[in-house]
């Protein structure tokens, strides 16, 4: 059944590829619209926009998902519920496509909500405690974005239509649009795991590897970037974009640093995804949405490939993901290590692979535009850090000896997984150049001094050397540096953001809710309504019953009282 879906999705991917070429050539845009309801001068429509950006992204998404489904035929072969898995992946792809093709904020909400929920289901696919927590974290972080988009829907009511495509450019300077832009930026930040919301991405590695390959490398996390690309004419040159620049650069840097301290294979790859996402967001906020899109697409390719290789390796390691147990991959798994090397080199921006075209162009455009020392510093340091953790990873996995068992047999001949990796390998070599020739009408004019142009290479080399050195140092075999324990903790645990996002927030709300329940709902509310009335009534009726007790004194007393009342009535002449 996996092969059926593979062919189905692959076919659609090729179809959208050919359409994309046609649309790019003729600068064509097709718009389908279906009106759900129209009243009070507003209409809720379900619309689909097909232009080259949509089709290109669709092609990449469908290609990666088809390859991932084929891959999971072998990876998840021992799973009892493979059909459930495939259906969830297909639902995910459907939600992603809904998000991609929508020019209308309500249909974006459809795709966005769907993405959040289906990725939740996929992350908690394995039923252990870690997946459960990770899924909750993923779903709730994404939910923040959902809620913000709901609010955007209500603010957009002011403009009479939810097809933001039509009036974004026109209404840029409106006050309400600035509210909308804040909320859209924050929503994109939750989805793409920028700084305040970045704890879910490493945690979501509890998902099965095909899911990580599809979801957390290329599609879900890039949904936020895509949203900002769609909205980019709204948010460029405003104040908020500079905040986004700051946060995304911090993300880029932090992820790079944390990846150096990690020993879990998938977490390293996740943090590298996070770093690249920060790069995409930051280049978007510098004002170059095309470059962000370009990097998005090429990154998708090699990151998915990297995850797949990681999947093969994890299978070999008997499902252990710790890199300290690994080694000697290049000897025993030549094809896999080929893919691993190529994707890693594409990640670092080695010339003429996929990543080079996008990354190098990004770096040059960054150097060419207005920036301050902070931005400059962080961009180049992050590039160096990319090389740093890549070389460290390669050192751990390839160079040293296999550390898990004494007797072992690693095999590379899982042809299903290899075939899927081959497709992505081809694409990750080709796609950079292909895209750069395809989607840019004219080349960028960049004029830089020599050293600035070579800065990329200098930084990469330095990072590579550092990576080589640090994986050879003896002190590193102890888990953390003892001298700099606090610093290491800070840097490794992602600047404590996971604890802030989880325990730091949830404790206060849950405690508050519990107190509300006990004190208000089961306490004072009961006192002032049901139970309190009962207590009062019972008290009065017991008191009354004493009157009934045939006590002569009470009768005489009531007689006297009655006389007084009668006198009173007479006096006031009733």
């Amino acid at each position: 059944m996996c092969t059926h879906f593979f062919f189905f999705l692959f076919f659609f991917s090729m179809l959208s590829f050919f359409f994309m070429i046609y649309f790019v050539m003729n600068n064509l845009v097709i718009f389908f619209e279906w009106e759900l309801i129209s009243f009070n001068s507003i209409s809720i429509v379900m619309s689909m926009l097909f232009d080259w950006m949509t089709l290109l992204f669709m092609m990449f998404v469908l290609l990666i998902s088809s390859v991932v489904i084929y891959y999971s035929k072998s990876y998840m072969s021992s799973d009892l519920n493979l059909i459930r898995f495939i259906i969830l992946v297909l639902l995910f792809v459907l939600s992603m496509i809904l998000l991609i093709i929508s020019p209308n904020i309500i249909s974006i909400l459809l795709g966005w909500d769907g993405l959040g929920l289906v990725s939740y289901c996929l992350v908690i696919y394995y039923q252990n405690l870690k997946s459960y927590n990770a899924g909750m974290l993923t779903a709730l972080s994404n939910r923040i974005g959902d809620v913000l988009i709901l609010m955007v829907i209500s603010w957009m009511l002011n403009y009479g239509s939810w097809n933001y495509i039509f009036y974004l450019n026109f209404m840029k300077n409106d006050l309400i649009m600035s509210f909308i832009s804040i909320m859209i930026i924050m929503a994109a930040m939750t989805k793409s795991a920028q700084i305040p919301f970045s704890s879910w991405l490493p945690a979501a590695m509890a998902a099965p590897t095909p899911v990580s390959a599809l979801v957390h490398s290329s599609t879900l996390v890039t949904a936020g970037v895509y949203l900002l690309i769609r909205f980019n004419m709204l948010i460029l040159n405003t104040f908020f974009i500079k905040i986004l620049l700051l946060l995304s650069m911090m993300t880029m840097f932090m992820a790079g640093v944390s990846a150096n301290y990690e020993f879990d294979l998938k977490k390293i790859i996740a943090l590298s995804t996070l770093s690249q996402l920060g790069l995409m967001m930051s280049i978007l906020s510098m004002g170059f949405p095309d470059l962000a899109f370009f990097h998005l697409l090429s990154h998708a390719m090699f990151k998915a490939l990297l995850f797949m290789c990681a999947g093969v390796i994890i299978h070999m390691m008997n499902d252990i993901q710790d890199i300290r147990y690994m080694g000697g991959i290049s000897l025993y798994l030549p094809m896999t290590s080929l893919c691993l090397n190529i994707s890693n080199m594409a990640l670092c921006g080695i010339p003429f692979l996929a990543g080079f075209y996008s990354k190098d162009m990004i770096m040059e455009m960054v150097s060419f535009s207005n920036l301050n020392l902070f931005v400059f510093f962080f961009y180049y340091i992050s590039m160096g850090l990319t090389m740093f953790y890549t070389i460290r990873l390669l050192m751990y996995m390839m160079i040293n000896d296999y550390n898990l068992l004494s007797i072992y047999n690693l095999y590379d001949e899982d042809y299903v997984m290899l075939k899927s990796m081959m497709v992505l390998l081809f694409m990750s070599v080709i796609s950079g150049s292909f895209l750069s020739w395809m989607i840019f009408y004219y080349p960028y004019m960049i004029y830089l001094p020599f050293n600035l142009k070579m800065m990329v290479i200098y930084v990469s080399l330095m990072g590579g050397v550092m990576g080589f050195l640090i994986s050879n140092m003896k002190i590193y075999s102890v888990n953390k540096f003892i001298m700099t324990y606090n610093l290491s903790n800070f840097l490794c645990l992602m600047w404590f953001m996971p604890s802030l996002s989880t325990y730091g927030l949830s404790y206060y709300f849950l405690n508050f809710g519990y107190n509300l329940l006990k004190i208000v709902d089961l306490g004072w509310s009961e006192f002032y309504s049901g139970q309190g009335f009962m207590i009062i009534l019972k008290k009065y009726s017991i008191f009354y019953n004493i009157f009934q007790m045939n006590n002569f004194k009470i009768y005489l007393f009531s007689f006297v009282m009655w006389m007084i009342i009668i006198m009173y009535m007479l006096i006031i002449n009733i």
Binding site: L36, Y132, M151, V520
Partner: protein, 444 residues
């Protein structure tokens, strides 16, 4: 109108016969389809002596017939062990007749009469077929909260009758009763029924202690009686409502936030679903009280969507209860290992509960958010918190009951029966498919 009324009245002798349980259920389904044939072109349709229906009452009558039918489908357990099944059928038929009459009379006093009258079969359902000793207190709370608030409503109705000499709903829009005490008397009953935050204490008790049919009808329709009443009564209270609605709005919105936090602390599945009902209804109250068209529309859709969704979730809780005889979250966990097909239904209904697309709840929530933000942008804060925590507790319920390890003390039980799947499907289908025909809900 008479034909439907007589259809239902003549089903009562059928309830006395032996082995007529499924016949009654089938006849109710037939009634549903017969009722759908009524046209909705005019202001008051099918006008007869004292009854007619207009847009809102049509949808709510459909919902009540549908849910009564599903109530019978879910209570097959009572049929199998023959637990006073004839009286149960009569109870449900009486409830349906009273609900039908409530929604279709044109006279506000008769509406009150049947509104109160529908309380008695509900009370009988809770205390008669519930299974825990706490159901007595639950029934008392239900009765007394509702009665305490609706007796001032009775007073208000008589005051209006003496002033205006007519109680026809159609004529009320020509009058303007701008007295604070009248306003409070009139809407208090419906706010308690809805329920609003501070007076919601009857709802968790009543929903939890009721049997599944009682929970379904309570969550499905009885709460909507309050909404329907508010929609009718606010017609002549518009001026004073515009001055004073912020009180109820603020209580509802803050209350919705507090209740969604309280949902996280529940250990009883039905109690969690009951609190989530209060949370949804708090947004509905806010939408009605704002009195713009988006609010009207959104609250109507949300009422129908929530009726189907909550009722479906109570069915799910009952499916678990019938197997494990416990409603506690600590025992009902890891269900995906035993009944994976049921997990899909849990997920679908849970996602509708948190207003994920493409459910009716989403459309209702979007409309209500629109109306509330247009009333005051400050309500955005509360709405954000309510939506977020809604998702939180729905996911909490889903993941706790379905994923993870199962309770080791489970011995053996059967997987899902197709009747249960049909029940859930019939809940889910209108909920998620009606969004394709939204103009069906557009109030003209």
């Amino acid at each position: 109108m008479m034909k439907f009324l007589f259809y239902m009245i003549f089903m009562i002798p059928l309830c006395f016969m032996v082995d007529m349980f499924w016949m009654v259920q089938f006849l109710l389904m037939l009634l549903m389809f017969l009722f759908m044939n009524c046209s909705l072109m005019y202001l008051n349709n099918n006008l007869s002596y004292m009854m007619s229906f207009d847009f809102i009452s049509f949808g709510l009558i459909l919902l009540s017939i549908w849910i009564c039918m599903l109530m019978l489908m879910s209570s097959e357990n009572l049929f199998k062990i023959n637990y006073y099944i004839n009286f149960f059928l009569i109870n449900i038929m009486m409830l349906l007749i009273l609900l039908f009459l409530t929604f279709s009379v044109m006279n506000l006093f008769l509406f009150y009469l049947f509104f109160e009258g529908s309380l008695i079969p509900t009370l009988l359902l809770i205390i008669g077929w519930g299974y825990q000793p706490e159901r007595i207190q639950a029934g008392m709370y239900l009765m007394f909260y509702t009665l305490f608030a609706s007796l001032p409503l009775l007073m208000g109705l008589f005051y209006m009758y003496n002033e205006l000499n007519s109680m026809m709903i159609y004529f009320l829009k020509f009058f303007n009763m701008n007295f604070i005490i009248l306003y409070i008397c009139m809407i208090l009953a419906f706010l308690v029924k809805m329920p609003m935050y501070f007076v919601h204490l009857w709802l968790p008790k009543a929903h939890v202690e009721a049997p599944v049919s009682g929970s379904m009808i309570l969550a499905g329709i009885m709460l909507k009686l309050g909404g329907y009443g508010l929609l009718r009564v606010l017609i002549f209270l518009q001026e004073i409502n515009l001055k004073l609605n912020y009180i109820w709005l603020i209580i509802s919105l803050m209350g919705g936030f507090y209740i969604s936090l309280k949902c996280f602390c529940q250990v009883d599945i039905k109690s969690l679903i009951a609190y989530s009902s209060v949370c949804h209804m708090s947004i509905v109250i806010s939408g009605i009280l704002v009195m713009n068209y988006w609010g009207y529309f959104g609250s109507y859709i949300m009422m129908i969507g929530h009726g189907l969704c909550s009722s479906g979730m109570f069915c799910l809780a009952n499916i678990n209860y019938e197997r494990l005889h416990s409603r506690s979250l600590f025992i009902n966990k890891g269900m995906m290992n035993f009944m994976p097909s049921l997990s899909m239904w849990w997920f679908l209904l849970m996602s509708s509960n948190m207003s994920a697309p493409p459910s009716l709840n989403l459309l209702g929530e979007i409309s209500l958010i629109n109306s509330l933000v247009s009333w005051s942008w400050l309500s955005m804060i509360m709405l954000m918190l309510i939506s977020f925590f809604s998702a939180g507790y729905s996911l909490y319920l889903y993941s706790y009951t379905q994923h993870g390890k199962f309770y080791q003390g489970m011995y053996s039980f059967y997987g899902g029966v197709s009747r249960e799947y049909l029940l859930l499907f019939l809940h889910w289908l209108p909920l998620n498919m009606m969004i394709l025909k939204v103009e069906y809900f557009m109030i003209n």
